[in-house]
Symmetry: C2
DNA sequence: AGGTTAAATTGAACAATGTTCATGTGAGTA
DNA sequence: TACTCACATGAACATTGTTCAATTTAACCT
């Protein structure tokens, strides 16, 4: 009965505002960090009352979590767009794309990885699952490169490798620390993969004859 | 005139309370996470007023930062205790010790890496420096293992390697995610180092003939 | 010892911010 | 048009970081 094209005026306003709230919250997190996100600011910018924010998202964590959910979705989309013909290039591409995405949306990524729920409420399972799935994107190229390894080992390796890349990038982009210049960070990631893939017995891109 | 053995009654009380406040704050962070740390709780447990906490630490961030400072000091101490006769073993030892320390004090480490100052105040430089120094502890064994590499490259490599290990461990211990069993995590780190050192042309521990 | 002073302590008041809920409003419906 | 109910509202409340005028207290002086 109620499909998207034919929804009531109420539902239209509601869903438009929902999107607006998310856009504003995302903008604030991206620009000034999660700690600067305030209910009243969001409500005022969205032209509604604080009650409406609560009505739509339950509590303030609900807003944050929804933004985080969309962040990991966008990340997954970007990573899924990395060409997969050549498995070695795909691994380098995944790392480089993660670096790009992280550099573009550092505060959103930090919100995703650093936000803690209040009390001891559990972090939503679907978000965790999406993060795990993103980190598992190295699985398929690794399977092609290491055909003799068993699948569980590859799954673990995929997660290890991606976690390592994540560590290099997230600390490298931490402007609090002595900031690594972005260009150097890219090189750092590449060299890291060079060495690690070589150690796995895989010939890295840099060592191959051109074309 | 005022040395440590001969300090005024006032200073004695003050420094005793300072230690007490830190101990309590550390305990709360370690047990329930940074988000559960509240000024009033700390003051009450320390048997003083909230004003005294402010008098001693300036603001609440001051308490957190002091705890973080002591965390990185303790970490550095532990890492500095890793035997250094054999540079390869030292690298494995540093990673294993970091894992141990992180597992024992997960919430304290998260406080160190995830705490953001309010507004845009800068993170204290001395803490950043100490973290960098800790991450540079792989430098000296790497120099011995790669005598031909130039020093800047080694410094970068040290940071990259330690950041990678940090990523593997911090995500691996993230109980929010599908928690990796601690024993498996240890193996994961070891295998990671095996592959990476091999890729650098270093013979890993596992591949050497015993003794 | 007693008085004086400077500094630390206190906790009530304030400020900022997340959360709730009684009340009002307007879209849907008969 | 009248009715109704789900949603929007924002004032009030709850929690927590921060300030500061009044109080207490240790240190110093004579």
């Amino acid at each position: 009965m109620n499909n998207v094209q034919d929804e009531s005026l109420r539902d239209q306003k509601k869903s438009r505002r929902r999107l607006q709230i998310l856009e504003i919250a995302r903008g604030i997190i991206a620009a000034k960090g999660l700690r600067s996100l305030k209910v009243r600011d969001v409500a005022q910018s969205a032209g509604c009352s604080v009650g409406s924010v609560y009505n739509e998202f339950g509590d303030f964590d609900g807003v944050i979590l929804t933004v985080n959910r969309e962040t990991v979705q966008a990340l997954t989309l970007r990573l899924a767009g990395v060409p997969g013909e050549d498995p070695v290039r795909q691994l380098y591409g995944l790392a480089a794309t993660y670096l790009e995405f992280f550099a573009e949306h550092a505060n959103l990524l930090r919100s995703l990885f650093e936000h803690r729920m209040e009390d001891d409420r559990p972090y939503p399972d679907d978000i965790l699952q999406m993060v795990m799935n993103a980190f598992a994107l190295m699985h398929s190229p690794l399977v092609r490169l290491l055909p003799d390894a068993d699948d569980v080992k590859i799954a673990l390796l995929s997660r290890t490798l991606f976690s390592a890349v994540h560590g290099i990038i997230s600390l490298g982009l931490e402007e609090r620390m002595v900031a690594v210049p972005p260009q150097m960070l890219r090189q750092q990631v590449t060299q890291f993969l060079d060495a690690h893939l070589a150690g796995l017995g895989i010939v890295p891109v840099g060592a191959r004859s051109p074309r």
